[in-house]
């Protein structure tokens, strides 16, 4: 798949391209070899491939390599054949994902746009199946940490590039590209903004409680730089959703802070001081956040959401993936014209068709109908509730491990809440990264339950009595 423009490719020597391909392939091969000793590494390798998509970064043979399929088969076979199954359970939230998967399959069969629906189904089912599978492998404390770490570092790979480019070039809406020029997965601006902000609590947790990289000045410095890069992504991509996500994160992170008003004031002051350093185009775009009438993008959203509500009124079971392609509507946008000292307001009719949902909630509603939305909301809501229970139960525990679990529950809950707010404005209902976060939440809840169970005392080994022949007489 040609990802970069021909002009860019021409600038780069063939040798450099081959080196990049070889480096990425070598990295992947190293992971596959390591998995021979620890099959769980194959599961982590799939997470890496799914987030970074190295097959899209490479140009030559890497682009032709079915890396995702290869690693998924290794991960699943490794778990099935070589990994222990002790302590694995199938939870209600996994069952909900199975139900969502089955419902999506059903709506795809009767979709309004069968071809487009089949294309979306091709990646959605993989995302859901992996999220159902992942908690089965998360049997130990270290596996939870490793999953969180690889998700952060793999996502961080894209974020570091986007952050540095923002500093160097200022970015621009739809203009900031990291590695590849396509708009799928985490490489889409709004999605990257939302994910970047939602992983900040996880970065903090890893820097405080990590054992793979125990906290020291190097780990804390890397975490600080990565966290800063995360905050720069919404600036670079110039997505308003990102700014909303930052505000949500700021408010939620005050929960366990003692002097919260002081910190809130400090955050506000830093925010105000940062404004002169922000690109002018970013400030202008953000200023439209409260005025949807003047903005075509915001007006379209509201029109699409109204259309979706009408649509499910007639089709309560949903129209299958990409049902939005059938929409067509007319709406008005407000334009303010200035001539001399007078300004005039003009309302212009805009006709639009086939506009995307721009909201995960309306995406699920339009595509999967009310039953699908109910399952999806239950899946999200139960996660927040379970993580709340974990925090309340373990936060004041004397055990260091319990407090680390409570802290992880808080990080995952805040990250998920950021996602749920960001999802109001971006169609990311089936984003694989978020389903990995869901799987991690399930794994944490299971781990907490396992720890709460009293350890069974080891069975004393019974001494084997030597068998005596029948009728043998003991010597006296």
């Amino acid at each position: 798949m040609p990802i970069r423009s021909r002009a860019t490719m021409a600038k780069i020597g063939k040798d450099k391209r081959t080196v990049l391909d070889l480096a990425l392939a070598g990295f992947l091969a190293a992971l596959l070899v390591m998995g021979l000793k620890r099959p769980f590494i194959w599961v982590l390798a799939f997470i890496y491939v799914d987030i970074v998509a190295p097959q899209k970064i490479g140009w030559g043979f890497m682009a032709a390599l079915p890396a995702s399929l290869l690693v998924f088969v290794a991960a699943f076979a490794g778990w099935l054949l070589f990994d222990g199954k002790k302590g694995t359970r199938f939870t209600f939230r996994q069952f909900l994902m199975v139900l969502l998967l089955a419902w999506c399959a059903y709506t795809t069969l009767g979709a309004d746009f069968p071809e487009e629906a089949a294309t979306k189904w091709a990646w959605v089912w993989k995302s859901l199946v992996f999220a159902i599978f992942l908690p089965l492998t998360l049997r130990t404390q270290l596996r939870l940490e490793a999953t969180a770490l690889i998700m952060v570092l793999a996502g961080g790979s894209i974020i570091v590039s986007a952050g540095i480019k923002t500093v160097l070039s200022g970015g621009g809406y739809g203009a900031l590209q990291s590695y590849v020029g396509d708009n799928t997965g985490l490489y889409e601006g709004s999605t990257l903004s939302m994910v970047a902000i939602s992983i900040i609590p996880l970065i903090v947790w890893l820097a405080r409680h990590g054992t793979i990289f125990p906290p020291d000045w190097r780990v804390k410095s890397y975490a600080l730089c990565l966290g800063f890069a995360c905050l720069l992504v919404p600036v670079g991509t110039q997505t308003r959703t990102g700014l909303v996500c930052i505000a949500v994160l700021a408010v939620l992170s005050l929960r366990y802070v003692k002097q919260r008003f002081l910190l809130l004031g400090l955050m506000g002051a830093i925010g105000l001081m940062a404004i002169p350093f922000l690109p002018q185009s970013y400030v202008e775009r953000m200023s439209t956040i409260t005025d949807h009438q003047a903005d075509e993008s915001a007006s379209t959203r509201i029109a699409v959401w109204k259309w979706t509500l009408d649509y499910v009124g007639d089709n309560p079971m949903g129209g299958g993936f990409d049902a939005y392609l059938g929409n067509s509507f007319k709406y008005k946008t407000r334009h303010v014209g200035e001539s001399g000292s007078t300004s005039s307001v003009e309302y212009v009719d805009v006709v639009d068709e086939g506009r995307a949902y721009h909201s995960a909630y309306f995406e699920v509603l339009g595509e999967q109908g009310w039953p699908g939305l109910f399952i999806w909301m239950l899946l999200q809501g139960l996660g927040l509730i379970q993580l709340e229970f974990v925090q309340r139960r373990l936060r004041k525990s004397n055990d260091k491990r319990d407090r680390a679990h409570a802290s992880l529950a808080n990080a995952l809950q805040v990250g998920h809440a950021v996602y749920l707010v960001g999802a109001l404005f971006v169609g990311i209902a089936y984003q694989p990264f978020i389903y990995m976060l869901v799987a991690l939440q399930i794994g944490l809840v299971l781990q907490v339950k396992r720890n709460a169970q009293p350890a069974l005392p080891e069975r004393p080994k019974r001494e084997r009595r030597a068998l005596k022949p029948v009728g043998a007489v003991e010597p006296t």
Partner: protein, 51 residues
């Protein structure tokens, strides 16, 4: 071209840290089974330091 160098730099740094993380995991026994109560603290740190 400068932005392309940023891509290479980010790829190198992030993949360097990733491979180090995988390498450390490779030698951790508690990846497959949680340590029993009583032997968690020192052993885990020891394993991490050895890695």
């Amino acid at each position: 071209m400068r932005l392309l160098m940023v891509d290479y730099f980010s790829l190198a740094v992030s993949h360097g840290v990733l491979i180090l993380a995988f390498w450390r995991l490779l030698w951790r026994d508690d990846l497959n089974a949680d340590p029993q109560p009583g032997d968690d603290g020192e052993n885990r740190e020891g394993q991490a330091n050895r890695a």
